[in-house]
Symmetry: C2
């Protein structure tokens, strides 16, 4: 992976709909070569996928919440259970195992406070492995590019 590849990656992070002709202008190669490089980056698993980004407000999922989850007991069984729980819940759009006193950070997308409340009570706290949660609601999303700074 050379500088040209990184330029392609940065460009496609910003706009996955770029044609190979447009990519060619950006990186200074022919369109066919851009096509080949892009295909290779996909094969190598460097490009994982292409996703449409939706407006959270307009789609009715404007509420973003970050929840810290603490396990009841720290063992591999509970760890496995909690992963399966996060996997199975579509409201969980991101989940991390963390350092520090909080075991997991998860990001939640819901319609409103009512659905958030039922998510926490019925899905999270109802689970045997979960001991405690700490909820922080996003008042405003200031930035939300998940783009890694590969171009810089």
């Amino acid at each position: 992976m050379d500088k040209t590849d990184r330029t392609i990656l940065a460009a496609l992070q910003n706009d996955a709909r770029l044609t190979n002709n447009e990519l060619a202008d950006i990186v200074g190669l022919s369109a066919s070569q851009c096509s080949r490089r892009r295909t290779q980056l996909e094969k190598d698993g460097i490009i994982v996928g292409y996703h449409a980004k939706l407006d959270r407000e307009k789609t009715g999922f404007g509420l973003t919440t970050i929840i810290s989850v603490t396990l009841a007991t720290h063992n591999s069984e509970n760890s496995k259970l909690i992963r399966e729980l996060f996997d199975s819940l579509p409201e969980v759009i991101e989940a991390h195992a963390m350092t520090g006193e909080m075991d997991y950070y998860i990001k939640i997308a819901t319609k409103d406070l009512k659905s958030l409340s039922s998510f926490i009570n019925d899905k999270l706290l109802a689970h045997e492995a979960v001991q405690h949660v700490k909820t922080a609601i996003s008042l405003e999303t200031l930035k939300d590019t998940q783009n890694i700074p590969i171009g810089q």
Copy 2:
């Protein structure tokens, strides 16, 4: 925006490279109509953009950190400054103004602990508006679909 539109949105969230023919099979319309609906969803700002998702490890940005930022003084000037700061830092891939005792949650993508350390010290703590930060490092990303659960 009807049920068909939501199906299209859910499909494009998962795979932005779907052709209109493939979309047509999914939603049960013709390809031309899928094209028209998709164009309209873009015009309405419901589809904000299309982005390639990259492998964090393979691109060398495997370190994810969540930082709570507390302001020195809560006034509109500092609020403005902190927004501009987050905007200008490419390592900040997500930023929220939060409820609770912590003012901002930001998500950071860096290559390693060294670059994280210099980010915190030279970029964050060096800023006049920042009083205090609390750092939590992701040991493992369990889930990272930013897809809103519009299909469910």
